[in-house]
Symmetry: C2
Subunit: 89 residues, 2 copies
């Protein structure tokens, strides 16, 4: 079993309408010191495979075929047990 985390962001120069609208709404609520808002999506997968390299290859394929749009997105694949990033929500 592997726990894999995929972090999906936008390529440089691609506009982030969700971020822009959040920024606008925050300003409307009076939070004027907020200068920038960026949104990122994270997908956590649990995969039942024995081989780490197979997992890496498969997740990469998933990203390209379904999870991301290669025209606008960048993605980063991390194995969770490697990182010791503390508890996830």
């Amino acid at each position: 079993m592997f726990e894999v985390q995929i972090k999906i962001g936008l390529k440089k120069g691609i506009s982030d309408p969700e971020g822009a609208n959040t920024l606008k709404a925050l300003h409307l609520l009076g939070f004027n010191t907020v200068k920038e808002v960026k949104t990122i999506r994270i997908i956590d997968l649990i995969i039942d495979e024995k081989n780490r390299d197979t997992v890496k290859k498969k997740v990469d394929e998933m990203c390209q075929r379904l999870l991301t749009n290669p025209v606008i997105h960048t993605y980063e694949i991390n194995f969770k047990e490697q990182q010791d990033k503390g508890k996830m929500i």
Copy 2:
């Protein structure tokens, strides 16, 4: 200037339709070894304040008033420079 990262996930027991549909789609594409898919949203903010405690308090207020739905979401606020989590996408 502070860079703050808000991680928004779902409370335990709250269903994650996006994750469930992604799982279905991955199975349809033949990735049958995927057992679970969870989605998390991340919002990165750049805030122009001097005082760290003020930032913490304001971000907490933003989460409660706009960014999250306290009925279904959990959130975690992290200051980015503290963590040394490496480069973001």
